[in-house]
């Protein structure tokens, strides 16, 4: 496998694991981060010391100009992106009656506008190349909802609809577009839940444990591989049997 993968929000958590997994498959990886430069450098160093190719690239993926600059820089340094992984995401939870407009907008911008901006930027060279993979990280919240998650769930459900639409738009050009809906994965994001909530969550998971970032990364790796060439417009749920 060769090509260039861009992973947004790759300085930690699922994104960091995805960057490592794609590098292991031979992709040159652009490790995007918004603020955690140390985290991004660690991810890049791990890849490079393992014999792979990676560069850190700073950009707020909810900002159109920064996204355009990011794609130009990546193309110049390691080549045009052949696999885009839309992973960047934040939470800012609250019950709807207490949710402010800023809180709503910020989550939608980071989680959903970013997917629109990055996918649009990635598609132009993919259409020309008649090949490419777009893989976006949704969430089980976007599939079945969660209290306190209206903004996050809306952004993640938005990714699923977006994925299906773009799969139809660009399928004729050999490009596949898919989403992954992880359940509860052990990351900084789920650490914020607290022990009591986490225990309650684990009781609902068939496999009886939280997932590991690597267990989501392996699915991204599959969707980016030749073996997944006939899968498009799908959302693969990776939740240990939570939503059963």
């Amino acid at each position: 496998m060769s090509g260039v993968a861009l992973v947004t929000g790759a300085s930690r958590g699922i994104g960091a694991a995805v960057a490592g997994a794609l590098a292991a498959d031979g992709f040159a990886v652009a490790v995007n981060y918004a603020r955690s430069v140390e985290g991004a450098k660690r991810v890049v160093d791990d890849i490079v010391s393992g014999g792979g190719t990676a560069i850190p690239i700073q950009a707020d993926v909810s900002d159109a100009d920064q996204v355009a600059d990011m794609f130009a820089t990546v193309a110049g340094e390691i080549g045009a992106v052949s696999v885009l992984v839309n992973n960047a995401g934040i939470t800012d939870d609250g019950l709807l009656l207490r949710m402010g407009v800023d809180q709503w907008d910020r989550v939608i911008a980071t989680n959903l506008r970013s997917v629109y901006l990055c996918t649009k930027a990635a598609l132009k060279p993919m259409i020309r190349a008649r090949a490419g993979r777009i893989i976006s990280i949704s969430s089980v919240s976007g599939v079945s909802g969660n209290p306190g998650h209206s903004n996050y769930a809306a952004s993640k459900a938005g990714i699923i609809g977006f994925t299906q639409s773009i799969a139809k738009e660009v399928g004729s050009r050999g490009i596949t577009v898919n989403a992954i809906a992880p359940g509860f994965i052990a990351t900084d994001m789920t650490d914020a839940l607290g022990d009591t909530v986490a225990e309650g969550v684990i009781q609902q998971i068939s496999l009886g444990r939280l997932g590991r970032p690597e267990e989501v990364a392996s699915v991204v790796r599959y969707l980016a591989s030749d073996g997944a060439s006939y899968i498009t417009g799908q959302t693969l749920v990776v939740d240990g049997g939570l939503a059963l």
């Binding site: 132009k124 259409i127 020309r128 738009e169 660009v170 004729s172 050009r173």
Partner: protein, 81 residues
């Protein structure tokens, strides 16, 4: 840029970017009906025109392009004012 030059560059782009058969291209040829270019193909053409002629084509003006000749008209108008 002379119109003849725009026409010849347009033919080149249609062959190279959209993979069209050079023999099928005439100034009267309609993109969708005669050349079987789909809606995404028209968008690809617009991107190629913008990149290669250094012009900006807003969506509302793009809608006026039905034939190869009309695409040449639009580029000529953009380039020569």
């Amino acid at each position: 840029m002379e119109r003849a030059e725009i026409e010849s560059k347009m033919r080149e782009l249609l062959v190279e970017e959209l993979g069209l058969d050079a023999d099928a291209i005439s100034m009267e040829a309609r993109f969708e009906e005669d050349l079987e270019v789909d809606s995404l193909g028209v968008v690809e053409l617009l991107m190629a025109l913008e990149d290669n002629f250094g012009v900006q084509i807003p969506d509302e003006e793009a809608e006026s392009i039905g034939t190869v000749g009309q695409a040449v008209d639009l580029v000529e108008q953009k380039l020569n004012g």
